[in-house]
Symmetry: none
Subunit: 142 residues, 2 copies
DNA sequence: TTGCAAATGCAATCATGTTGCAAATCGTGC
DNA sequence: GCACGATTTGCAACATGATTGCATTTGCAA
């Protein structure tokens, strides 16, 4: 019998997203995927002590840029990152951002149609941002 | 005839809130009330060039503590403050942001209905943010 | 295997927000 | 009106989070 070594699913995700597979990206994405809550840069730094501070920032940015991670701001003004449920189109649907833990949740709702603009205005982007407190944080602070 | 000098409404607000009336608090609260959108510390610094950086932070904190101002975090992770008295509904309100000149325009469009949230989630704000180029900038760059 | 664009590591820098302490100020009691 | 004490201010230093420039290393495709 012959078992081919199966490349990690994480590496496949990275390849599918069209970015290079590097140890940094694999480890960071794995950490994000394993985390129950969105992680800050500081969280990841203590989780991956070998990683360089700046590289960590750049890895996170690249993951966000290629759609594999989501970036949000928590109540203290710190960026927090989470693995995006992946391969899901992240345009064309609505996100809920928890202002407490910085989590981003994908809602089933369909984004509303673009509104009518005053004469001469040119539309580029529409952002339907829903903010509040997620169930976990509601329970935790109750 | 005798006209009593009418203390500014802002000073009255401060007194009513149980904090001392200082020039810093009056100027900051006036700025917040006059602003069309929540202001960052940097905004206020350029709006009130005489004010000390740290004092500004402390004034803002005191206004938040006594309930006269609201503190929130913007998408870039920066704290923004708004006068809470000024009943400016900035949730459920449609904005058009010109990516060229940075101007913000309040659209008359009806805000879309809040989407259905998963069980336990608490809604705080809905921001329907529309970006593009305003008529002036379209004309200027044409 | 080799070449090259992309990614990394390091140092420096910026931006935002906080703390400690002496001097100035507000508001109260006289 | 005046003086006193608690708040507030201004300044300097510090802390944390995030970004930039550049030389070196690495992924990956020819």
């Amino acid at each position: 019998m012959c078992f081919h070594w199966r490349m990690s699913a994480t590496a496949d995700l990275l390849r599918a997203a069209g970015v290079r597979v590097t140890s940094g990206r694999v480890r960071v994405l794995d950490s994000l995927a394993a985390a129950a809550q969105p992680l800050s840069h500081a969280d990841l730094e203590s989780l991956l002590p070998d990683a360089d501070r700046v590289t960590l920032y750049r890895v996170l940015d690249s993951l966000v840029a290629c759609g594999l991670a989501l970036k949000a701001v928590d109540a203290r003004g710190v960026f927090r990152f989470s693995a995006s449920g992946a391969q899901r189109e992240h345009g064309g649907h609505v996100h809920f951002r928890c202002t407490d833990c910085g989590g981003v949740f994908c809602l089933k709702a369909v984004p509303p149609p673009p509104p009518k603009l005053p004469r001469g205005f040119r539309l580029a982007e529409v952002d339907y941002d829903v903010r509040g407190t997620c169930a976990d944080c509601v329970r935790r602070t109750a």
